[in-house]
């Protein structure tokens, strides 16, 4: 006796969260059954393995049919075939688009192209996430990217509107799209200590301050050719950053800046001597020079991509090697950026603030073990 056909269709579509998770994780039906057995479901319910097999198959089939709709979540809301309560719909969408930390760290900042997709089996092997799940997550990133790529307005809002995500998930996806678009390098060994959360935090700050949309130019220039304002960094702004070089090139300015910072921080900083030493021009780990140079280099696409590498090399690592506590880093950065306002000879105050406010936030987030 073999079962040729075995289906269950409810007027309200039954969603088993546990099976949904297994399906999303890319397990085959037999693996899923084995995992459910191991979880002790047979003992809890008194069911047989055959019942479990049939149930799992049925859920998998349902999910498979729902997947097409999940690719465009508004469709899931308006379709008539599956009657699903709104809370369940939200759960289906949220879980489908959820991603693994390990996976996102692998592809963050990479171009969402066929080439990357080919590497997914390596990622799968490395992270222990099934290839199927990797593919789903990758395709999700790519799908969201494609939809919002050409859109005006807030990145996170666009994503939320078209994919019906929660706030949190929409912001995460905004970061992923932003990183993919700007191709920031995140895979270097020295960046491995950073979590997706760290990058997402920086991305949000950068989207808020460094993109075209951030300047609020949209309403005044509705027909401007720059459409994807939240995705691309403000090119003009990056060009202007070269002007900041004067802060290290002009010796008077540098000395004045240094003395102002030192005066303000004397006695407050546990690592004062190290800080002071770092201001000296010949010092290889000159913090100020590092930060300004990072800014100046952002004209080139290549250097934009290396932004996080540079920040870690030029700032995080030196401070860490001198064992700066986080509080001191904060004090220093605050003082460092604020005192520029007192430099009479420096004319790019607004530019400096736009650069340094974001950078300070990023650096503080990046500064940990």
């Amino acid at each position: 006796m073999t079962s040729e056909l075995d289906i269950f269709v409810g007027n309200t579509t039954l969603i088993d969260e546990e099976v949904y998770r297994l399906w999303l994780d890319g397990y085959s039906v037999s693996d899923a059954v084995a995992l459910r057995v191991r979880a002790g479901i047979l003992e809890q319910t008194g069911a047989t393995a055959a019942v479990l097999q049939s149930d799992t198959m049925d859920h998998y089939r349902t999910f498979h049919m729902l997947e097409r709709l999940l690719h465009a979540p508004p469709k899931l809301l308006h379709q008539l075939v599956f009657q699903i309560p709104p809370s369940r719909q939200a759960l289906l969408i949220e879980r489908y688009y959820a991603f693994d930390e390990a996976f996102v760290r692998e592809v963050l900042g990479k171009k969402l192209s066929k080439g990357t997709k080919k590497d997914l089996d390596d990622i799968s092997a490395k992270t222990g996430i099934t290839l199927k799940s990797c593919r789903r997550q990758f395709d999700n990133f790519k799908r969201v990217f494609k939809v919002v790529e050409e859109m005006r307005g807030s990145l996170a809002d666009n994503i939320q509107q078209h994919f019906l995500f929660s706030d949190r998930l929409a912001r995460d996806y905004a970061a992923i799209v932003f990183f993919a678009n700007n191709r920031f390098e995140t895979a270097k060994k020295k960046l491995q200590y950073l979590s997706f959360g760290d990058f997402a935090f920086c991305a949000e700050l950068m989207i808020q301050n460094w993109t075209l949309g951030a300047v609020g130019e949209a309403p005044s220039k509705p027909d401007s050719q720059v459409d994807d304002m939240d995705m691309d960094l403000d090119k003009e702004f990056l060009q202007d950053l070269k002007e900041l070089k004067v802060l290290v090139a002009d010796k008077d300015l540098l000395d004045l800046h240094k003395s102002l910072v030192c005066t303000a921080l004397r006695g407050k900083l546990g690592v004062f001597s190290e800080m002071e030493a770092n201001f000296k021009p010949p010092a290889p780990q000159n913090l100020s020079r590092g930060l300004v140079n990072v800014a100046a280099k952002l004209t080139h696409n290549k250097d934009v991509r290396d932004l996080f590498v540079d920040l870690v090399e030029k700032f995080v690592e030196p401070c860490r090697s001198d064992h700066w506590p986080l509080g001191d880093v904060r004090l220093f950065l605050n003082q460092y950026s604020v005192t520029v306002h007192s430099l009479d000879g420096f004319r790019h105050q607004a530019l400096w603030d736009r650069y340094m406010d974001t950078l300070r936030g990023c650096l503080l987030r990046l500064y940990h073990d």
């Binding site: 006796m1 040729e4 056909l5 075995d6 289906i7 269709v9 579509t13 089939r61 075939v81 009657q83």
Partner: protein
């Protein structure tokens, strides 16, 4: 030109991409009705076109309005080649043809294609302007309401229940026409869908005409079926019960009791009849079409031996009141005579109803069934479907004579079905023989004098169990005892019926689903030889099915079956029998004896041991089941039996004389009943297998109950969560092990596993009950068995079971007492001392002390309960004394008071509950249920019948996920289309939903599959009770005048 149909095409959405180049679609719509077609403009390059068309107007006969479906086709415009069809929507406009149903159909309909399934949605608005046509010779029957529900629909009351209506129409099946060889599968499927739609329209119109002839205005329990006879054609047939229904002015005037078809009927004044139709001649109108031509069918036809009483009358199957002449007295004879005269004028006194207004069902005889094997021949003249008519007439005649043999003049819970394999067809009909109260069957001329006396006469909750046939001349051997409830009349030891449990029946504990399953191999044969082989097998199958049912019933420790449905399916090389029923313990019937096993050779020691082991197992199972289903009937000690039944003095002379006569025989009969144990003889291995299979049925996991009736006896605190589902399984038998035993085991496992899967899937709803579990078996191919199950899972509140009923009673108690206070202000015949005699307090105690004895129905209808029946039903001697003391202390009321008291209470109800049926919060969600009600909600309006037929075919089976993927998607789509139609009618639920057919064929080698599904139900609007309460508390001070005004508004 009696009608104008207006259609507007608003918009489309989610259309498929029809032009690969642009990834877009240039869609337009064709609207067709009859032979007239309109087109919208082409909406270029969009998947969400906004046509916003003008109103397309069709001027049509109302005959066409009833027959024709509105056909909407969405197409993709193509400049160079033929336009591609995207899909179609068929809309049945019938609901717009009666005044009380829907007024407009407006909403999003799935665009359906028989090859691709649902492809987007279209927004359509449909209206009908009807002109009055007073032509007496008209062919249309607009205005006759149709209900699938097999009880009187909730917002109506039955003025007259006229009786059986039937009709069938035949046609050639487009699938088998020569043209089918050259047309595409799509064209062929669409031709079929359209034809069936037309035929059901025609059928409904013709049935409507018959109803009008009978002076009725509605068909209740309407059941329409298709017989796909292959080469020989397509038969669409329908049966139903013609009624004259009266809309209740306030939908809120109903008790929350979910199971009562319409308890309030009693409380409403019966004589007022606003419907002019009903005053005229009523039931006696002879039906023109009911004189059938009994032209002998040319084909081979052989009656199955179901006429053998042993089978069709279910041996030992219980029946009702004994010795009509003796106990009934002159009054009863009068009743009988009247009913008979009312019924005898009908050719077939059949009723498709399964639940009845209180007082309608007097006695139940037992199940009657008839089967007949026919050879199909081509239907030569579709306009004269004589052969098929004659076949059915023959079977109905047989049913009628079976009922007569049981001393019954009517058949209730009647249904018909067919099973077809190649050119052999088994026709089956079954029902429950019954004696009915004439008051619903004719005009209320005599009812005035009879009505109250009947109530006096019939003790609540057991009357229907009393045998209707003559004790001395029983149609079959049965053990009769005196009713355990009233002790006045005879009851059988077991009772099998096809109806739902009457609401006033007294049940002990809970019920459960019982199934008998059976397979029999049969040689492949052709034509007559095949028919003979089947006919020869049928009696054995029926006998075995019956034995299995009996054994399983005993094993559960119960004594009655309700909703019994025996399905015999014929296949190429086997016959399958599946019987489902809900077993209960009726308090009126004797306690079932156990099952005893007898071996053949008592000499063999080990064998003996084995037998005793089995015996122990069986006894254990019975004990376990009794505990599981809470069956602890009141122990009846000899003391009680011996002592005379305490009799309140005010009982009528008539009754007293009866009870005197009953006392004499009591001892004898009861002892007889107690001794009765069912003996199973194990004389060969087959019998051994049977015993084993008895024990393999696993009870549902804790927290689950199941039944195939509307509701589960013993559960009444339903919460609002419901989940309707359909589950289909097909197994392939390996041809090697095809023996009867292996087959039986396979089939048994299939059903058991299916049930287990359902329990597992629905475990999140625990505690819950699977209600209306409906199994259908078909044998699509040689080695395939298909089982389709549709049921609804309803949650209930386990903990509040007792409390809610108590509070319910307390509530009604309060209400009743306020009524009493009101009454006191008027000088009614109710003297002051009769006030405390209100039967509620004892009712409450009764419930608390003996909860096993579910006196809830009795308590609910407390106003009509008299003390004598109460005392009789009480569970112990002590309890009896207590009650009796109360009775004496408090005096008593006459039952005649009931009527007077009832009407103010009805008004009280009315006042408290009248609320406009507005605010339906659950927008978008459409509930579906096979039941006639929605727990925790009130149905405020019936919008019309839903009757849909779909075909789905694929030539890319693998790509669609194999057979499971294909059928899963199709069934989900069918649900979606039903929901969309209901929503467009303005409804939020389908009740009495049924999947009548699910024919699945596959050809995996060709990567093809085809499936036909036919579903029906009643579209309704319901309002949650909680919402109603909110509304009613907002206007607590409403006085009677206001409420009357409110009532008018709501209609």
């Amino acid at each position: 030109m009696p009608g104008k149909l207006k259609v507007k095409i608003v918009a489309g959405r989610h259309l498929p991409v029809m032009d690969r180049a642009s990834d877009l679609t240039d869609a337009f719509v064709e609207v067709k009705f009859g032979n007239t077609t309109f087109k919208t403009d082409v909406y270029l390059k969009s998947l969400n076109p906004q046509w916003n068309s003008e109103w397309f107007k069709f001027e049509v006969d109302d005959e066409d309005l009833q027959d024709e479906p509105l056909q909407i086709t969405v197409l993709d415009h193509d400049t160079y080649s033929a336009n591609d069809a995207i899909g179609k929507v068929y809309i049945d406009i019938d609901p717009l043809l009666y005044s009380e149903a829907a007024t407009v159909i407006s909403g999003w309909f799935p665009i359906y294609d028989t090859i691709h399934g649902i492809r987007g949605e279209i927004n359509v608005v449909v209206k009908v302007d009807l002109f009055n046509d007073l032509n007496r010779f008209r062919q249309s029957s607009c205005g006759v309401k149709f209900f699938c529900t097999t009880s009187i629909p909730k917002c109506y009351r039955a003025v007259i229940i006229h009786g059986f209506v039937e009709e069938l129409v035949v046609n050639e099946d487009p699938e088998y026409q020569w043209i089918d060889r050259i047309r595409t599968p799509r064209a062929s499927n669409e031709a079929r869908q359209r034809l069936i739609s037309l035929m059901s329209g025609e059928l409904q119109r013709k049935i409507g005409l018959k109803v009008l002839e009978m002076r009725g205005n509605a068909v209740v329990g309407y059941l329409q079926c298709f017989d796909l006879e292959g080469e020989s054609g397509l038969v669409v047939r329908a049966i139903g019960t013609a009624c004259t229904l009266d809309k209740l002015s306030s939908p809120a005037a109903f008790l929350p009791a979910c199971n009562s078809p319409s308890k309030e009927m009693k409380e409403l004044p019966f004589n007022e009849d606003p419907n002019p139709n009903t005053h005229s001649s009523g039931p006696s109108t002879p039906l023109k079409n009911q004189t059938y031509s009994f032209s002998p069918s040319k084909s081979y036809s052989r009656q199955s031996s179901s006429s053998d009483t042993d089978l069709s009358l279910t041996p030992k199957t219980g029946m009702g009141s004994g010795s009509a002449g003796k106990e009934g007295g002159p009054f009863k004879a009068l009743l009988r005579q009247q009913t008979q005269s009312a019924l005898e004028q009908r050719e077939f006194p059949f009723f498709t109803l399964t639940a009845f207004p209180p007082g309608f069902l007097v006695h139940v005889g037992g199940v009657v069934s008839a089967r007949s094997v026919k050879l199909l021949d081509r239907i030569h003249n579709p306009d004269e479907p004589e052969t098929r008519d004659a076949w059915w007439a023959e079977i109905r005649q047989e049913i009628k004579s079976h009922a007569k043999a049981l001393g019954c003049h009517a058949v209730v819970g009647y249904s018909e079905s067919t099973s077809i394999c190649e050119e052999v067809c088994i026709l089956s009909a079954s029902g429950t023989a019954a004696v009915l109260n004439p008051r619903f069957l004719q005009d209320g001329t005599v009812e005035g004098c009879l009505e109250q006396r009947i109530e006096e006469n019939l003790p609540a909750g057991c009357g229907f169990c009393h045998i209707p046939y003559d004790e001395l001349n029983m149609p079959f051997p049965a053990h009769l005892t005196y009713c355990y409830n009233c002790r006045k009349q005879k009851v059988p030891d077991v009772l099998f019926t096809t109806i739902d449990l009457p609401t006033d029946a007294t049940v002990v504990g809970k019920g459960c689903l019982i199934q008998a399953r059976l397979c029999r191999l049969k040689k492949k044969a052709q034509a007559e030889a095949n028919a003979t082989a089947i006919s020869n097998l049928l009696p054995f199958m029926e006998y075995e099915v019956h034995t299995q049912l009996m054994n399983k019933l005993k094993l559960k420790g119960m004594n009655a079956l309700f909703g019994l449905r025996i399905q015999i399916t014929v296949g190429e090389n086997m016959l399958m029998g599946l019987a489902s029923a809900t077993a209960v313990y009726l308090a009126a019937l004797p306690m079932p004896g156990g099952i005893q096993i007898a071996g053949k050779t008592p000499s063999d020691g080990s064998y003996e041991q084995h037998i005793s082991h089995m015996q122990k197992k069986i006894s254990d199972t019975i004990a376990k089941n009794k505990e599981l289903y809470e069956i602890n009937p009141p122990e009846i000690s000899e003391e009680i039996i011996g002592s005379p039944i305490p009799e309140p003095k005010q009982r009528s002379r008539l009754l007293r004389s009866q009870s005197e006569s009953s006392d004499e025989v009591t001892e004898l009969d009861l002892s007889h009943g107690k001794k009765d144990a069912f003996v199973l003889e194990i004389d060969d291995t087959d019998a051994m297998e049977d015993v084993h299979s008895l024990l393999t049925d696993v009870p549902p996991p804790s927290g689950f109950y199941s039944c195939n009736t509307e509701i589960m006896p013993g559960i009444n605190n339903w919460t609002s969560e419901i989940q309707m589902f359909t589950s289909v399984r097909v197994i392939r038998l390996s041809s090697l092990n095809l023996t009867n035993q292996a087959l039986n085991k396979n089939f048994n496992d299939l059903c058991e596993n299916l049930l287990k899967s359902l329990y597992f899937k629905l475990r999140s709803m625990i505690p819950c009950c699977l209600c209306h579990v409906n199994f259908t078996v078909s044998l699509p191919e040689d080695e395939l068995i298909q089982v389709t199950v549709t049921a609804v899972a309803i949650t209930f509140d386990k903990n509040q079971a007792l409390q809610t009923t108590k509070t319910h009673i307390e509530k009604s108690l309060q209400r009743a007492s306020t009524d009493n206070e009101e009454l006191l202000q008027f000088p009614l015949e109710l003297c002051s001392d009769s006030l405390p005699s209100h039967p509620f307090p004892p009712a409450k105690e009764h419930l608390e002390s003996a909860r096993s004895n579910s006196g809830i129905p009795a308590a609910q209808r407390a106003t009509s309960v008299d003390y004598s029946s109460f005392a009789d039903r009480c569970s112990s001697w002590i309890e009896l004394i207590k009650l009796k003391a109360q009775t004496i202390r408090r005096g008593s009321i006459k039952t005649t008071v009931t009527v007077e008291k009832a009407s103010p209470m009805g008004e009280g109800n009315f006042r408290n509950r009248s609320a406009p049926p507005c605010a339906n919060s659950t927008v978008g969600v459409v509930k579906m249920t096979p039941l006639s009600f929605i727990p925790g909600a009130k149905i405020t309006k019936y919008l019309g019948i839903i009757n849909m037929f779909f075909i789905r075919e694929t030539t890319s089976l693998r790509e669609e996920g194999g057979v499971s993927g294909f059928l899963h998607a199709f069934i989900a789509e069918v649900f979606a289309m039903v929901r969309a139609h209901v929503a467009a009618l303005g409804g939020n639920a389908v009740v009495s939903y049924i999947m009548k057919q699910c024919v699945f064929m596959e050809n995996p080698n060709k990567n093809q599959a085809q499936c036909l599904i036919n579903v029906s139900g009643d579209a309704v609007i319901f309002v949650r009770e909680s919402e109603l309460e909110v509304i009613s508390t907002q206007q607590p001070t409403a006085n009677c005048q206001q409420s009357c005004a409110g009532g008018e508004v709501t209609t």
